[in-house]
Symmetry: C2
DNA sequence: TTGCAAATGTGAGGATTACTCATGTTTTGA
DNA sequence: TCAAAACATGAGTAATCCTCACATTTGCAA
């Protein structure tokens, strides 16, 4: 996993941990950051607090992370990799319209549940769009996820315009993330209704050219 | 990312300008902030720079704006008020499905154009979701805009479940904003395709229960 | 006009925080 | 064994938001 696509702009180089001891310490730093983001949000997260909670010095933090955003970025990348594997698997074996309907619905539920349950993910995807680099990561991630959808669509409709299918998949994915973000920021019952409505709308677009 | 903690919920109130002189100065402050946001983004905007460019002292800035966010908020509110009037007018006279189709398509184009043309708006709506208060404003704004759509839907389908119509309108609006945000962050031709695809998807949902 | 309170204007300085760097400690590998 | 590389430290630096004590201007009643 290179992940250099969105890394161009920031990337002050930092040493990667090569010893067992430092690898464990980096894990503690990430865990501390994750906990703090869950409690207060990434904006309110203080580097000194991360260091203190991880039981390391401020200097050690900067030994492995070039700046504050890099910590959030590292956490975001983990979720990204994890969820991409999940999506790839869910859509791999889809061969017909009904299968797509089932898989898509399931996928939306999984994402919705993930956002509801993971405060860090929630914060990262709804609270760091100000950051150009993270926004680029999100866009690249969204494109990659949409590509799985595109592949399925091409299998279902081999004669359709590939560019149109690509556009549809990208749109469906991006609006899906928006719908879920919306759903988690309102009351639970309304959120559930919104997610259900989104599924209907998106599936119609996916299944009917 | 920001210099100072924003742990407090809402900014403390500040005196509103009551004299002609101060009203003009506040205008200059907002104009300066707008220009700086257009140039560098709201995150990179420095209060000292705003003051200097407006030809006022730092203290004067804080006389009328409790903090940095308040300036961005004030600019955002202007656009909000303006666009709400536009939406209300566009949807007021819709009485049939065809009319809704036309009005909706037009509205999406207007929004798309606005986002493309106004760097400040672009920054505000894609770069301030980190801010809890601004996110709340955006949500309230979205709800208000969706309400215009709901009113139209109720006129077109008086027998349908009002809650379902409400959900549909809210979903369509929110995903529309997401689609447009996506469209302006990719290449122009792809953006145009995405907006067109969104229109198709949303209109199908709006017109067909 | 005059006087005075309220509104407005000012900018040096307080407070916070991301980040650096000189220096000390531990691990590696030959 | 020992030198070099990796790692650890935390006081200090720079940047920035925002305050506050004091100066100036404006509105307005006497």
């Amino acid at each position: 996993m290179d992940g250099t696509a969105a890394n161009e702009q920031i990337a002050s180089p930092r040493r990667a941990p090569s010893q067992q001891r430092s690898r464990e310490r980096v894990e503690r730093m990430l865990a501390a950051a994750s906990a703090l983001i869950a409690e207060q949000g990434s904006d309110a997260m203080r580097m000194g607090e991360v260091a203190e909670r991880a039981g390391v010095s401020i200097g050690s933090l900067y030994q492995f992370f070039p700046d504050k955003r890099a910590i959030v970025w590292a956490l975001a990348e983990r979720y990204t990799v994890e969820s991409q594997a999940c999506i790839s698997e869910a859509l791999r074996d889809v061969t017909d319209a009904e299968g797509l309907g089932r898989a898509f619905s399931e996928l939306v539920d999984i994402y919705y549940g993930l956002f509801l349950a993971e405060p860090v993910m929630r914060d990262i995807w709804s609270g760091t769009q100000a950051d150009k680099a993270l926004r680029a990561l999100e866009l690249a991630d969204s494109r990659a996820n949409a590509a799985f959808l595109t592949a399925v669509l091409k299998r279902l409709r081999p004669d359709a315009d590939p560019v149109a299918l690509d556009t549809t998949a990208f749109l469906v994915w991006q609006t899906g993330e928006a719908a879920i973000r919306l759903a988690i920021s309102v009351d639970r019952p309304e959120g559930d209704r919104l997610v259900a409505a989104y599924k209907r709308m998106a599936l119609r677009e996916l299944l009917d050219p």
